[in-house]
Symmetry: C2
């Protein structure tokens, strides 16, 4: 099978950033399913993993988000059979999805929403899991719409990959969603994906919220440059409020800022469950199943913004380059 | 009425650390009750407030924990009448309890447990509110005993004021309670107040927990020197675990330590609700009412370790001196 990866930490500006290899097709054993990958999407974790690669001679296949068709199942797999269309974010502890076939733990996958193409579905798993785990598990935002009435969440970077699905999920569950965006096109995208009011993260947030008659917010979900947003967050969050973060930098953040208002700082890393093989990892399959249902019901929409055709070294390099530029809107998908 | 307080930041080693004044007895208006104070207890917040006092000529009465008898009630007070015996922690934004009479918001007080003396009751409000809010609100530990079966909480400084009631509340709600203590007498005290197993916070915690066949803990509640305990906490906490803190120092704490395990850091400051006048402040009255009931049922016991007789400048100075030495066991109470 064809697989694209790296042997060592490479720069996205190098000519041979990625290599293509022919590898043996893996065999599904135990709780694994073997998936024929039909589409993948890229996330900031892809570039972070690329930069972390040790020069140990091993070939590392990156890529985590994927949608595809189950080819075979291990003897302990329940709920999936060959031919099933699935989507998932997999695990950073294993070989990735930038490959014709991939092994993945059946507990962290779900049936692909039947009304979405492989490409539209591949845009979602990693970001939807991140948004769901952050908001409905770690921030303890109720799934009950009535309980969230009158509550406001501020999404820092609402038009990014996680922002585009977090905003939809938050709105769907009754929260008032204010998101930050700094360009006309990101503002428009955010408004199309659940964000009800946008403000600009390059300007002080407090005054902009006041102009919207919002004195304080109940929750802040920061998806971009936590250190830069920190002072604004501390200013606008309610006493006893909850801040979730998925990315740093964190140097220079003063934890004493949490004290007077008794604030909570939640860290969400979607790969914790597979990396540490927690008892709770099966919940990722459950969350993706719920997300698939919401997509089928038309209550969520894909966050795919762009699609590159063909899993090639050129397309992967282009995708990583776009991620590193940091101005991505929604999700970039590569069809296999 | 007699009141003891300070005009400016004073050292506990000065001869006239506190002054005694004769003040007019205040009048209860609105939602306030006027309480005849019968006993107070001291907490680290007392010494912090003393050290923060500005030299502005105003007389500041410190002391927050108190038990006493309602003398009169404001026109908006519901649920309390003159003669009721009450206990409370009050507010740092108002004059304190080191006084013959004190005004306090009726929303943050509760009826004193009928089976406890004023002194035994005065030991509890601030620490019980801190422990309850930290564990059952901010850490989202269920109040359902069955749901907590098999879960472990690690209490750093189990024999301190908050530790002595947090341990009892945690055990009562089905958690396995491991606490740190470093002296024979603190270990004994901790074991008498809900801590089931003790380890020494001057030695690496991981090995000591392993010796107890505990690989990781679900919750850590740190009540002493967060910076010193931090590396140990990060090592022993489960992925997706929750850390609560009530005190620093926080300088030098690396927030990146939260990321791989997706950890949550909760800050608990019991005075947030009264300081910021949150909509939720009435919950402090509710929590104290529940705590009083558990005390009356004999399911909790007072954490009073020692009592000084008489609200005098000498006794207050002695109490502050003990607090600043940092080796306090349980609570020190002063009867009025």
């Amino acid at each position: 099978m064809k697989a694209i990866g790296i042997y060592k930490n490479t720069s996205v500006d190098e000519a041979n950033c990625f290599s293509e290899e022919q590898l043996d097709k893996p065999v599904a054993k135990g709780g694994d399913v073997l998936v024929q990958v039909k589409a993948v999407s890229v996330n900031p974790v892809d570039t972070k993993q690329r930069k972390m690669k040790e020069d140990d001679g091993n070939f590392r296949i990156l890529g985590f988000d994927a949608a595809g068709i189950v080819e075979e199942v291990g003897e302990d797999v329940q709920g999936f059979k060959p031919g099933d269309e699935v989507f998932y974010a997999g695990s950073v502890a294993r070989q990735g999805s930038n490959s014709e076939y991939q092994l993945v733990d059946h507990q962290v996958i779900a049936k692909k929403p039947s009304n979405l193409s492989f490409s539209d579905a591949a845009a979602l798993p990693l970001t939807a899991l991140t948004a769901w785990e952050a908001m409905f598990e770690k921030m303890h935002i109720p799934l009950d719409i009535e309980a969230n009435k009158g509550k406001t969440i501020l999404l820092i970077n609402a038009a990014g990959g996680v922002g585009s699905i977090a905003s939809q999920l938050a709105k769907l569950h009754g929260l008032h969603v204010v998101g930050t965006a700094s360009r006309e096109e990101t503002e428009k995208w955010a408004n199309q994906h659940g964000t009800e009011q946008t403000i600009n993260h390059h300007k002080p947030l407090h005054q902009q919220l006041e102009a919207l008659s919002i004195e304080t917010v109940d929750y802040v979900f920061c998806m971009h440059q936590l250190d830069k947003a920190w002072d604004d967050i501390i200013e606008v969050i309610k006493p006893e409020g909850i801040i979730a973060a998925i990315t740093g930098p964190v140097e220079g953040i003063k934890l004493t800022d949490l004290t007077s208002k008794s604030l909570t700082l939640v860290w969400e890393y979607m790969f914790t469950r597979t990396l540490h093989q927690t008892d709770s990892k099966y919940k990722q399959g459950e969350i993706l199943t719920k997300v698939a249902q919401l997509l089928e019901e038309g209550r969520l929409r894909t966050t795919k913004a762009e699609e590159l055709e063909g899993l090639t070294v050129e397309n992967l390099q282009e995708a990583h380059k776009r991620l590193e530029e940091g101005s991505m809107i929604g999700k970039l998908v590569i069809s296999v």
